[in-house]
Amino acid sequence: MLKTILAACAGVAAAVACSTAVAATISGAGATFPAPVYAKWAETYTAQSGLLLNYQAIGSGGGIKQIEAKTVDFGASDKPLKPDVLAANGLMQFPTVVGGVVPVVNLPGIAPGGIRLTGAVLADIYRGVRTFWDDPAIKVLNPGARLPHERITVVHRSDGSGTSFLFTSYLALKAPHWAKEVGANDAVSWPAGVGGKGNDGVAAMVKQTPGAIGYVEYAYAKQNHMTYALMQNHAGGWVAPTAENFAAAAAGAKWGAAPGFYLLLLDQPGAKSWPITGATFILMHLKQTNAANAHAVLAFFDWAYKNGAPAAVQLDYVPLPDPVKALVRKSWLKIVGPNGQPVYR
C-alpha cells in the first residue's frame, strides 16, 4: 500500500514537472485596496487583447519589495514612495484610481451621517483622550444629536495597511499631538483600542460593539450600510463620504507640482472635497530589461485609463481626472528598454 503510494507520488511529480508553459503572463503584485478593480480590468482586457495580466494582492509593502527584487513586472502600493526613494531604486510611480477612508461608528439611535467629527476630535478619540460619546468636544460639533453616555471603543486595523497609512497621515496633519506621539505609517503603535484584521475585521468589530468607532475603505462602509460620520473639510464644510466628494478632492489637487506623483489627497481645498482621500499607485522600473513586458503593462493601463472608468465606478472607486491621466501618460516616456528608447508611446 505504502509503496504504491510512494510510486504514485513519484509518478505525479514527474508528470507535473513535464507540463509546459501555455501562454506568457504579465504579473503584478502589491496593494490590496485596488485589487478588485485591477482584476476587473484584467478580465475585460484579456477578452479583448488575449493578454493575461495577473495581479495579486499581497500588500503594499510586498508590492514595493517585489518590484525592487524584480520578481514581478509591476508593483502596486497605496503608499506613494518619496521621490528620493524612487530615484535610489531606479523606480517611477503613477496613480491609477482614487478612494476614500471613512470613519464609521456604532451608536444606537444615530443614523448614517448623523454625527459630525473634525480631524482634531478624531485624533483625540484615537489617542484615548476622549473616552465617552457625550464628551463636550464631541457635543459642541453635534448640537442637535442625542449622544449617549457610552464608552468609546476604538477599533483600528491590526494588519499593516494603506488605509491605516492614509488615516494616520490625516490625523497627524490635523492634530499636532498625534503627529508627535503616534505619527503616520501603515502600522503604528496605537495608543488605545482593539485591532481588527482587514477592513472586514474592523467592520465586524464596530458592528458587534455598541459605542465603537472604526475606519474602513469606502466600499466596505457602503456595502455594509455602516453609520458613517460627516467630516469637516479644509473649506470648513461638512461633507459625506461619497464618490463625488472623493473626486472633488482628486480634482482640486495639484498633481503637476508633485514630483514623482508623490501626493496624498488629504484635506484638499474645495467645498465638496472629502478630507481623507488617497490615490493608489503602480511602481515600475525606469530601465526595463524586458521591453515587451513593460510595453504590455503600460498598454494595459493606457487601455484602463480610456475604458476602465465605468468598471471602477461600479466597484466604488473614483477614476482619475483627465488632466492627471495626461500627465501620467507623459511620465511613461521615462520608462526605457535595453536600447534606451521609450518602451511605450
Binding site: M1, P36, D316
Partner: protein, 283 residues
C-alpha cells in the same frame, strides 16, 4: 457520607466519573465541530454551483468559479505530498530503525519537532529566499516545496512513532527468516504500521491544504487558468484569503464555497485512505 464506601464502590464511582467526563468532552468537541461545520456548510453551499468547478476566478460583479484555483491546489498538493511522503517516511524510518540512541539521531529527532511548529509564514519566507528571489519569479514549484516543508515533519514524526510501537516480535520473526533489515522494514513494518503512517500523512495533508501564508510569497496566485508550475499558480487558500475579506458579496460566496471544497476534499481523502487501509488488512 455516613458509611465510607468500600474500595470497589469507590473505584466504580471514580470510573463512572471518568466515563461521564469522556462522554461529556466528546459531546462538547462534537458541538464545537457542529457549530463550525454549520457555518461552513450553510455558507459554502450557498455559493456552490456548477460554474464553481468549470470557470476561473472572476472579478467582482462578473460570473465565474474556482476552477483555476481547484486545479492549482490539486497540483500543488500532489507535488508537495509526493515530496513530503517520500522524505517523511524515509526519515522517520531512519530515526526509528537506524538512528538508535546516536547523538545525530537525537538531534534530527529534536529539530524535526522544532520544524513541526515553524510558523508557516517563515517557512514560506525561507523558500522565497532560495527559490523565488534568485530566479526572479514566483512559481508553483516554490509553493509545493514550501508546503512539503510543512508536511514532512508531521509524517516523519508519526512514522517514527508508529514504527517504534511495532512489536519486537515482528522484527525478530523477519530476522529469523534471514531477511535483511530493509526488507523487514519494507515488507513487514511499513505494512503493519500502514494505518498509523497514513494517519500521519493525512494530518500532514490536512495541515497544508488550507495554508495561505507559505503560498503568498511562493506560488503567489493566478487570476487565470494555468498548468505551468514554473509560473504563478492559482490556489484555493490564497483565493479564499483574498475573497473572504473583500467588500463584495459574490467574492465572499466564492470564498466560502472554496473553504467547503477544501474541507470536503480533506474528508474525501481521509475516507478513501481509510477504506484502502482496511481493505488491505482484510486481504
Amino acid at each position: 457520607m455516613a458509611v465510607s464506601p468500600t474500595r470497589v464502590a469507590r473505584r466504580r464511582i471514580a470510573n463512572g466519573f471518568f466515563t461521564a467526563a469522556c462522554i461529556a468532552v466528546t459531546v462538547l468537541a462534537l458541538a464545537a465541530l457542529a457549530a463550525i461545520l454549520w457555518s461552513l456548510v450553510s455558507q459554502g453551499l450557498a455559493g456552490m454551483n456548477l460554474a464553481v468547478f468549470t470557470r476561473s476566478t472572476p472579478a467582482p460583479g462578473s460570473s465565474g468559479g474556482l476552477a483555476n484555483a481547484i486545479v492549482g491546489s490539486i497540483m500543488l498538493g500532489l507535488v508537495a505530498m509526493a515530496i513530503a511522503v517520500t522524505i517523511g517516511i524515509l526519515a522517520g524510518t531512519w530515526l526509528a530503525e537506524y538512528a538508535g540512541m546516536s547523538r545525530y539521531g537525537s538531534a534530527v529527532r529534536f529539530l524535526n519537532d522544532v520544524l513541526l511548529s515553524a510558523p508557516s509564514i517563515l517557512v514560506g519566507l525561507f523558500v522565497y529566499e532560495i527559490l523565488v528571489a534568485p530566479f526572479r519569479g514566483f512559481s508553483g514549484f516554490a509553493g509545493a516545496v514550501a508546503l512539503s516543508l510543512l508536511a514532512a515533519p508531521v509524517i516523519t514524526r508519526t512514522t517514527e512513532d508508529v514504527l517504534k510501537l511495532q512489536a519486537t516480535a515482528l522484527r525478530e520473526a523477519g530476522v529469523a527468516l534471514g531477511t535483511p533489515p530493509w526488507r523487514v522494514i519494507g515488507r513487514i513494518l511499513w505494512r503493519s504500521g500502514a494505518s498509523g503512517i497514513i494517519t500521519g500523512a493525512l494530518l500532514a495533508f490536512a495541515r497544508i491544504s488550507g495554508e495561505t501564508a507559505p503560498l503568498l510569497f511562493t506560488a503567489l496566485n493566478n487570476q487565470f487558468f494555468s498548468l505551468d508550475m514554473r509560473g504563478p499558480m492559482a490556489n484555493l487558500p490564497v483565493v479564499i484569503y483574498q475573497f473572504a475579506l473583500s467588500a463584495y458579496d459574490d467574492w465572499r460566496r466564492l470564498a466560502w464555497a472554496g473553504a467547503l471544497i477544501i474541507a470536503a476534499s480533506v474528508l474525501g481523502v481521509t475516507i478513501v485512505a481509510r477504506v484502502l487501509s482496511t481493505e488491505q488488512k482484510h486481504s
